[in-house]
Symmetry: C3
Subunit: 138 residues, 3 copies
Amino acid sequence: MSAAELNFEIQQFYARQMRCLDGGDAAGFASTFTADAVFTHEPGEVITGRPVIAATTNANITRIRDAKVTRRHWFGMMVIEPESEDLIRTQYLAMTTSSNPDGGATVGAVSLVDDVLVRHDGQLSTASRTVRGDRVTR
Amino acid sequence: MSAAELNFEIQQFYARQMRCLDGGDAAGFASTFTADAVFTHEPGEVITGRPVIAATTNANITRIRDAKVTRRHWFGMMVIEPESEDLIRTQYLAMTTSSNPDGGATVGAVSLVDDVLVRHDGQLSTASRTVRGDRVTR
Amino acid sequence: MSAAELNFEIQQFYARQMRCLDGGDAAGFASTFTADAVFTHEPGEVITGRPVIAATTNANITRIRDAKVTRRHWFGMMVIEPESEDLIRTQYLAMTTSSNPDGGATVGAVSLVDDVLVRHDGQLSTASRTVRGDRVTR
């Protein structure tokens, strides 16, 4: 697979993964992670495994719904570093926007994210994600 | 055409299409739609055909100029689903930013957009666009 | 090199270039420009050459650190126009976000940027960059 084809595959993977999250589909979101995936929010919050990712995500979705905003995730400025056909490291900026019922939107947190993606049976999954919020790293 | 080549072509198409809009070129923007294109803003606002798209766009451009802001459209997190070489469905996030004369910028509306792109004589055009603002869909 | 491969190479180049800038590495950022690069902020501010770019960047980084924010650059809606294998023109939107220690982030300036990229010994560099802030161009 060429670098450009891999890039396209990864962009599609992330667009679908985060559409699940922003659309409130915690199970669909969790299914894009490996069974034993490690999800870290620096500093210090680490959750492990698809069931815990699903449960945590579900709680976050409920919290956002209760706040009556629509949240979206935007990824950009992505560096893609394949170690092999089946293990790819990515690093990118992530930003959230939140739209409120009165109209208009605001930018939420901005983060620098490091992922490890793995391929099983031709399908990409996130094996590890480390999110460093800019307020923390500053 | 490979998936990566199609992706690049579509990214270029959108960058040029929206540069027309943000640059105040209503006719240029309308020319990137098919003659009978359907442009829907959920809920309920539907305009049809290149001349109506041009006229509506022109009114919007005037309104934004009168507000003395510079508006930009940003697309991201795009899913591309080709049905054939000549008909491609896309879905993406769209965000506007507005810069005011005193400096700084603010995020405007965030939307989820579904497009149908068609190819005639090798050239992509938007045959249909459906914009769902996040305040509406929440 | 196909258009899609060139696009991917350019996206990687920009992600790494701006990671240097946002990470506070003025020398690393300057090294992504040609020795005699011309960097213009419209209207009227022109700096020339890698040492001057490094010094100016360093002053900006210090200013941002003193303001206690974390700044990020986001590029999008990019048009890529190769004149040859070794000279490529790009035009894109650029946006900054600034995160403050109390959490949350705000959008800073939005600009339309024109670059000339050149390739020497297989490596891309920025030979010229012209930044037009939207408050200026409006």
